[in-house]
Symmetry: C2
Subunit: 219 residues, 2 copies
């Protein structure tokens, strides 16, 4: 049995408890397949902001980067609370009633304060993020300059107040009496497909050619 | 020349002004291709919340729905400010330095107060959202019951403070002196692919079988 996150209000699912999951296995699985998190935070004028960003899960850390001059970076520097939402859409559900139109999806919302990662740990986290895109890739790259390192914040959000919402299957969720209504019903599957890597000339070596392996590229 | 949104601070892009766009054509194009918006708002405990939801653009309105009992619905009922972010990821960019790893993407962030749509206008908006999934579909469906209509909020966010960020092309954006570094560099294209519609038995009619037409399904 997978461990359970100790998610409390207002971070738990408010509705449809059968779709809510708090176990590490479900949540890590979704986070490891996602590519982009939508990071929500309250900006300096009190306004909600939602910024899409690449991320990587390392154990119980959600790691991402931000320019030190960006709104996201400035908010992380203050350590503000953020909500990282990762969404995988599996299909559009066409029901016989408008009400039951829906999607099959798997999503995670992770809430918590943010923390800037510094020093040697920062460099290791940057390598970890690169290696998520291709295992071992970071070892082949031109090393980062001190100016580049300074311009990039690495940010950590600890996984603790986390909720997954999952709706799977092939069938619309409908009223039994709707099943005979004369309209087509079913699902339209949605896939995220990674194409053939397209080399930028000159690329003097095949070292680091992405093999598209790992959970990010799993079907 | 396309009209320009009058986007002001703190809703304008803070950085990389060459990637920021405020014209209606660019912004409408992205919104019409996206399937899900990540809605950010400040919850009752002051916490940031980010909820993925299907939406439809109708002229200068961004329309979405929410259960009247959901956190998103309760926030919309209060008319709170929201940030709707729609993100299309076109490729992962593998550069020769860690710093220039990136993605090609097109995203829109629309900020503004939310408003509940009621009465006849609500029913028309629900039909509009259904018809985004298949033109003309709403006419074939079992009509919504008054209970279903009551349980569903339709929410409007007017497009006014809107920013698009766009990074396109096939090449990493690198330092000229990096081009000879001996590592593979290029992009991995990402596509969202809609599969063959999968019928749910019994479907007594082909009326409303999705033809996957319209901007949502455009390549």
């Amino acid at each position: 049995m997978s461990e359970i996150y100790p998610t409390k209000k207002p971070y738990r699912a408010r509705r449809t408890p059968d779709r809510a999951h708090y176990d590490h296995a479900t949540i890590h699985g979704i986070l490891d397949q996602g590519l982009v998190a939508h990071m929500g935070y309250v900006g300096g004028a009190g306004e909600p902001q939602v910024i899409p960003i690449f991320y990587a899960r390392r154990g119980e850390e959600l790691l991402f980067h931000a320019s030190s001059k960006s709104g996201l970076g400035l908010a992380a520097k203050k350590g503000v609370e953020m909500c990282a939402t990762v969404t995988l859409i599996d299909s559009i559900v066409y029901a016989r009633s408008g009400f039951h139109h829906s999607m099959k999806f798997r999503s995670v919302a992770a809430h918590g304060p943010t923390e800037i990662v510094t020093g040697e740990e920062k460099l290791a986290a940057l390598d970890f993020m690169i290696d998520r895109l291709e295992p071992g890739r970071s070892a082949h790259l031109r090393p980062m300059s001190s100016q580049e390192i300074k311009a990039t914040y690495v940010v950590r959000l600890m996984l603790n107040q986390v909720t997954a919402k999952v709706s799977v299957g092939d069938a619309p969720n409908e009223e039994p009496e709707d099943l005979t209504w004369p309209v087509w019903a079913g699902i339209v599957p949605i896939d995220t497909v990674f194409g053939v890597p397209r080399q930028h000339e000159p690329s003097l070596s095949d070292a680091g050619r992405p093999g598209l392996t790992g959970p990010l590229f799993a079907k």
